[in-house]
């Protein structure tokens, strides 16, 4: 089955094919993904300087719109924007005040009139950043900081950066993504990027946590860890939310850990030099044993450093795409 790259994909590029918003990794080509990674590498270098700040977005205003609380993600975006010399507005919106879509549109248009240049959007509804980018504030660049179960493209890219740093390549790499794939926007973003970059992806979990028809996205579903981890170069563990027990998706954390929790014994099925990743925050002894999380194969902490660089990269690239588009519009 072929899946058409939809207008979410198209909506994030300007007419020159440059990033203009950053909504999803689906449909972004290998060249674009590589460019994001390369740009992020340059920003990692910036983070090692005495003054960890470049004047790129000086005079630009970035609004962090968090419709769903997330201190970790918001902090890295805030730091990224500040290191680009942008002015940052943090707006936490309790969902109750925007249950009506009208309120959402009105509020965003207000910000647009205040000449905000970029929105970083975290929202509980899949597709909300796309809605804002395409229907509400077309002139503002929208960066998706996680929408429902749909996408978390900056997290996906920082994981790609980590993999590239440790494995130097994607082609032919065997990557196992383990746990609650169904409810994971991170997994969806990783799947798209890994597919495009040429890795072989398996998703591992009980069928209650695997999205139906996921094979069509080009991944191999596995319901047991032995097959899923066999010969893997990279093992990505996902966070298991406690509420999954209430929805009758799982019997208990204990049984989940027994079947799918990453222990030394299970990790031995992967390649000896396999790396272990986790988007965090970690539930120790639920999806991952402490000795594995803190062990020599774990690259969980370097992931955090890469997060800021990737966010600086996509923010500057999207702003650049916005500028290119506005400049071209002016010339017309």
């Amino acid at each position: 089955m072929t899946i058409l790259h939809d207008d979410v994909t198209r909506a994030q590029l300007n007419r020159f094919g440059q990033l203009r918003h950053f909504l999803t990794l689906e449909g972004l080509g290998r060249e674009m993904l590589t460019r994001i990674l390369d740009t992020a590498e340059s920003f990692i270098e910036v983070g090692s300087r005495q003054i960890k700040k470049v004047p790129l977005l000086r005079g630009k205003t970035v609004a962090n719109l968090f419709f769903e609380p997330s201190t970790r993600t918001r902090t890295t975006f805030e730091l990224a924007a500040q290191r680009l010399s942008a002015d940052v507005l943090n707006i936490n919106i309790s969902t109750s005040s925007t249950t009506k879509g009208e309120t959402l549109s009105d509020m965003l248009q207000n910000l647009e009139y205040m000449k905000v240049d970029m929105f970083v959007v975290r929202h509980a509804q899949s597709g909300a950043p796309h809605f804002i980018a395409s229907r509400v504030c077309p002139h503002v660049s929208v960066i998706n900081a996680g929408d429902g179960r749909h996408a978390h493209p900056t997290q996906g890219m920082l994981d790609m950066l980590t993999i590239r740093q440790y494995k130097q390549r994607f082609e032919g790499l065997k990557v196992a993504i383990v746990g609650d794939i169904q409810h994971s926007r991170v997994a969806r973003s990783e799947i798209h990027a890994l597919n495009t970059l040429g890795a072989e992806v398996r998703v591992v979990g009980p069928s209650t946590l695997l999205p139906p028809g996921i094979e069509a996205l080009g991944v191999t579903p596995c319901d047991n860890m032995k097959d899923g981890l066999d010969g893997a170069d990279v093992v990505i563990m996902l966070r298991l939310q406690k509420e999954r027990m209430d929805g009758a998706l799982l019997p208990s954390e204990r049984e989940f850990f027994r079947l799918y929790g990453l222990t030394r014994e299970k990790l031995a099925w992967a390649k000896p030099d396999a790396i272990v990743m986790h988007p965090g925050p970690i539930n120790r002894e639920v999806e991952i044993a402490s000795d594995v999380a803190d062990g020599s194969q774990s690259v969980i902490l370097p992931q955090v450093t890469n997060g800021i660089a990737v966010r600086m990269a996509v923010m500057s690239m999207a702003m650049s795409g916005q500028i290119a588009e506005l400049t071209a519009d002016d010339e017309v």
């Binding site: 440059q18 460019r35 390369d38 740009t39 590498e41 340059s42 990692i44 270098e45 910036v46 300087r49 005495q50 003054i51 960890k52 700040k53 470049v54 004047p55 790129l56 005079g59 500057s316 690239m317 702003m319 650049s320 795409g321 500028i323 290119a324 400049t327």
Partner: protein
């Protein structure tokens, strides 16, 4: 222009001027080239002067003052300064100086790495037409070009100066 001669003459002049520049100095400066042409010139200069040590490389994409007009250079690569700048003498090297804007950006970037004792500037070609009060301390050749003429350093192997005409 192209017959390597022009380049070799300019390079020789630049080498001599830099040698003179540091003649009374009791320590050698750290050499930093502005990517891409400046790095090539910096390497050639080090070789001609018989200096050892690493060449710092600056990618000024994040410091350009025309981001709001032209956006980000898509081929940005990490800057690399494999030495501390604090209290060091820095010899900043670029292939061509014209408006001075590139070197302003380069100096801004340098200061984000530390506080050098002094910065001196060496450029292979000076085209005049300055828009900022920045003057090189050592120049290989000074050229005055017509409106439709551009000069470009090609390289890295062999290095050469090329005169190009643009459609006006």
């Amino acid at each position: 222009m192209s017959s390597n001669l022009e380049f070799r003459l300019a390079m020789e002049t630049l080498t001599e001027r830099v040698r003179a520049l540091i003649a009374d100095r009791n320590r050698l400066p750290r050499v930093v080239g502005v990517r891409t042409g400046g790095v090539w010139v910096a390497r050639a200069l080090m070789e001609a002067l018989g200096w050892d040590g690493p060449v710092g490389e600056l990618d000024i994409a994040f410091y350009r003052d025309d981001f709001s007009r032209h956006g980000l250079n898509p081929t940005v690569r990490p800057s690399s300064l494999p030495f501390s700048l604090d209290d060091e003498d820095i010899l900043l090297v670029d292939d061509v100086i014209m408006s001075g804007r590139t070197l302003r950006a380069a100096m801004n970037e340098l200061f984000d790495y530390g506080r050098p004792a002094r910065i001196q500037l060496a450029t292979l070609v000076d085209l005049g037409r300055r828009e900022l009060p920045i003057q090189p301390d050592a120049v290989g050749v000074t050229l005055r070009l017509a409106e439709n003429e551009r000069v470009k350093l090609t390289g890295p192997e062999p290095l050469d100066l090329e005169l190009r005409y643009i459609a006006s």
